[in-house]
Symmetry: C5
Subunit: 328 residues, 5 copies
């Protein structure tokens, strides 16, 4: 689907053509006549025909086009003659399910055009485009500016997702160390799986962003490198937090195991103490159930209440003793 | 065994000779007279004589020939004067046994010939050859094109195997976190062993493919490097997924251990509660089994049913109490 | 908030202006007329206006200014034309809560100015400035001297924090290996979390300090590099100690788990021995509770005390036996 | 002890002198008069005098001589002017004890001589020398050929040892996952220790062999580098297998722990079920042991067999129930 | 404290002045008039005055002097103009307490002087000096020779300490796998802590020694580099052994955990079997304690002994059965 498409002149949107089709793309491209002007085509899960029309007009490399259509690629930055091809993973946090979902954005950045291909629901680029159009400043940097704006937006979303995960880890931590009987291993597992998801998005992106920030990519002017260094820094922060959360979760899991063991021990001692409260009176009952002829208590008028009292006293005494020594 | 053998001219199969023998190979090789034309000999677990005839005609290095015959080599790319020698591990997933099996392909790629030596059942090259012959495009790149086609096919199979393993891990995950009493350690172990198998195929191949994609290998023309970069990318994806599955399995295993502990604790509490249901009535029976002369209940007409009721009530009361506190 | 601000000439404070405002900053800067003279402005959690006035006068890069205002950055050293921007994490140990807290210092170091922006309560720079003013020696090195003094102070604080953590680890160690029943997993977890905090401050700072010590940063004269090498050494020491504490804690945690297991085993044996002391007499009572007609003991005058003695003897014998074999 | 010693001309043994002594060595060395001819002296745990005589004649470096005499060195390749000094660990598998034993070979390789010093029983060089003498081909490469032949033989032995360890790991694996009650931790520990032994031989040898295969060592002619690359490949295979076995053993150990836990749980449930089979009839006996006057069953002629049947039925019922729910 | 001080000419001690004081040092230094001659001052935990006098005369850098006085530095090699500053950790094993203790040696090595500053009791340099003076050979290399001699001695002590730790690990291993009930976690922990101590001494020293052995340090002549390579090799051996011991201890700890679990299981089964021996006779006693009118055995003359025999037979039968199935 073609989501949006426009020609940008001097950092301002000047023409928007929605219809698409190879002919339109060609006309649109020919309208570009000044340095820094460019066409930006935004697609959402395009079908083969749509993308091939665009590919033909802008000379996109077939391998890159295939990657953009198929999705499920690793984040990467490839240079084909006169063009940069970037694949990004997008992440967003779904509050209802406490889950991290992933999508993908592929970008073709040439001298006079940007083609963005988005997969998955998150990180809509529409609002990003509107923001860009209203500030103008970044758009004046041409296609490189759009490249920056999209990466910056995606990476900011990473940080937002990571912040949500920090909250999740805090909750798990509270649950593990609560005195309640909780089974946290499932939640820890799920969270570790999500951290792995985030890591798969963040780590492979560091190298492309580093290359962009080092000024070795032709689409990025020297003056723009501090901005990409800033993004690289955000990525490093996200990566560090994810690593640190992962290590924390491992420790929390170990602590959870220790808590289970401690609880097992506590339960065992409670059970044993409880058993003693019944077994000792049973012994007393057994004694007075013996059939000896000469057992003075048996004939005693208060023998029965005495025996019951003895049982109660024994149980009570044990109860106190276990209570004091922390077994009950 | 010689599986197939043909001369390719302008990307088309032009002569196929099955009989083999040193003389035939020599004649075949002499037919090559234009740039990009080449002979492709395909062998399956050849015996010493077969391969030595070929080695003699095409000048294959003895060490490489030895490696190709023996199999069980590590994936590697060696350059002998004017020739590239590549060893690949092949992987395939056997559905019936949920197992990953491995084979090996050794390739000798010279200017005017390709010799492929296959071991193990998987990754038949016959269909690969037919596909190549029908598309023609890759064959026009000469021996380097065949090299790419074979690696690409093998690596695609890696991704297919990895996808199957992802399914296996998902199944184990479901089993670990199910409430049923499962013993998943064996399956986790087997899967970890298979992941190690895949890793042994994938990791050592990355360096050869990287060298191929960097254009430093003479058999690969500059224009073909993006294709090898694509393969390198697939390899990286396979390696990342394998690492991530391995980490997930470790976490799943830990969770499995925690589940066992939790279950042990649950069982212990259930058993204790169950024991209490019997031990408390036993105490009551013991009490009314005492031989005191003065026990009013004993003479009471409804003493016996009353005692039974008392036992039942005690057991019932405990049952409720344990149920409410989650012990039963 | 502007905390302090002064002009330094020949290593001595010569003018201090507290009022602030863009006009004042401009005037102050214009007073700098000799090499090595500089203005030092100290801010504490400044609002947007305050910092932008300063940024305008001294030409601070907008991205750096944004980082300095927002805080929660990673330690880093950035070079913008003619200016060095450094972000440091500050750490301090709060005795009351045994907790490590973190703050942040951002520094802009130009040829004729230093701007420090501090976040969080710890590592007040006021006393650092006073010390510097009284010794004069470092101030003569100009802005580079201030840069060194601040980093040195912050890193010394790291070492102090690490020393406190060493004490905490020693305490945990003592607790784990005490014979008392302790639940150390929570404390180990908290301490591991704090070590991670320290690591996040220390590790990313190593690279900036290394660059400063290698003489490749323009603000630092060649003669100052041994001082930065000294700081790098302190950082390395802090990092090594943190790593080593973390490994020790992991081992201590494992030992804690082992202690729990050993204790569980001890408890189980104690409980079983205790149970035997009751169950064996119960068996004896059961035997004399049998209704056989011909049981000589029953008719015996001393039968009852004999039975009680037998029970006591059995219990006592078991007690001795369990005591000797270490079960009680 | 001087084991063997000979002069090699054109790849053929021409003179062998066993007696030794500095004078003999000198004469022997002087006989070398053509390129590629060389003296090969083989020693087994030589005493100080023996080696110093040789060292003097061939100009061996004192530090290297010391290393060769003392043994227990790390594998390494040192270059002293005009001479290469190599230390290798030898490994062999003793079937009777399932143990890996280690020895050491030190080699001095000059332009016209090879001195080998062997420690430990394994990897006898005598047969290696005989093989070399019978094939002649490698000997024509001069001292470098001998160097290759010895390393190749030692590394082949590594692979043989590793193959034995693979078998051992398979056995442990079978034992861990068998349903029998096995205590595999000792065997796993011992095997891990042996793997560490192998690793200590293999890993440090990789760098020397890499240097030999890169052609930067003067004793090795360019044409010999593919052979050393082959050895490097074997070493890499050994190292990979060892790493992979070590990881497998760790996983097997974890699985072993899980099996113990599962077994503990199974045992606990079996024990509890067994206890129920006794405790429930005891309760029934207790009920009919009560002394109520009005208990109709007591007077019933078939009361006793009825009670016994009731007990049997209760036990039988429980037995079925536990059997069905997998507790017995 | 000044421990010893002397002027060395042509590798021989020629003048020794104990008194110290800045004036004496100056005179002593002026006596040096030939290449290779040098002054060697040995200090033990010097006070501020002592070291500053020396620092002044020999031009030691203030930062290095501070490090030498304070101790607790990381091992490192620093170059200040015309001078090398080396910090070494010393280790020694105290037999009585099975503990590793640490000290420190700081060395200033200039063209015509060596100043050694020692902290802690171990690794006395006095005997080292005497050995050097008696052999003369190393002293002829000037200050570089002393540098080598001291490092060599310290590193030899590392190897001695590591050998002691190997013995300790062997003991722990024997204890873990003994059938006795041992609590090895404390000893393993302590040993791991000591290994960390050794690692902190060994690892950071590798880089300085590597630099010394690569000939890039001016105080070390080219001809001395093989000696430093030898030291580097010893260091590598110590580091490898420490790593390998650490890994072994981790495995031993895991095995210890497994042993505890196995023992717990054994104990549980023993306890259960023991309980059965009592509970089954109790059931029999309960049966004959029932009050049925028609119980033939009760009236039987040998009923009582028969019941006792039955109990004994039941217990005996169970005992055999449990014995055979390994539960007792």
């Amino acid at each position: 689907m073609i989501v949006d498409c426009a020609l940008y002149r001097d950092g301002q949107r000047s023409e928007g053509i929605h219809s698409g089709g190879a002919q339109h793309w060609r006309e649109l491209r020919e309208m570009v006549d000044a340095d820094g002007d460019f066409v930006w085509i935004g697609m959402f899960e395009p079908d083969a025909e749509e993308i091939h029309e665009v590919a033909e007009v802008f000379g996109l490399h077939p391998l890159a086009v295939e990657d953009a259509v198929l999705a499920h690629q690793r984040p990467k930055l490839e240079r084909f003659d006169g063009m940069v091809f970037l694949v990004l993973k997008t992440l967003w946090y779904v509050d209802e399910t406490d889950a991290v979902e992933t999508g993908e954005i592929a970008m073709f950045v040439g001298e006079d055009f940007v083609v963005t291909v988005r997969h998955g629901q998150g990180n809509e680029l529409h609002t990003a485009r509107e923001e860009l159009e209203s500030t103008r400043k970044v758009l004046e940097h041409g296609p490189g500016g759009v490249l920056y704006a999209v990466i910056d937006r995606v990476v900011d979303e990473y940080l937002a997702v990571v912040d949500e995960l920090v909250v999740d880890v805090d909750e798990i931590e509270a649950s593990v160390f609560s005195t309640e009987r909780t089974n946290d291993s499932t939640r820890i597992y799920v969270l570790k799986r999500e951290l792995a998801e985030v890591r798969r998005a963040v780590l492979p992106l560091r190298e492309p962003v580093f290359r962009l920030s080092s000024g070795s990519v032709p689409a990025v002017p020297e003056s723009a490198t501090p901005f990409f260094r800033d993004v690289a820094d955000h990525l490093a922060r996200a990566a560090e937090t994810v690593d640190s959360l992962d290590a924390l979760l491992s420790t929390a899991f170990d602590a959870h195991l220790a808590q289970i063991s401690v609880q097992q021990n506590d339960d065992m001692r409670k059970i044993s103490a409880g058993a003693a409260l019944i077994v000792v009176p049973t012994l007393i009952a057994g004694i007075y159930g013996m059939n000896f002829k000469h057992m003075p208590e048996l004939a005693w008028a208060y023998g029965y209440p005495y025996a019951l009292l003895l049982m109660g006293a024994a149980a009570g005494g044990l109860w106190f003793w276990f209570k004091r020594s922390g077994w009950l």
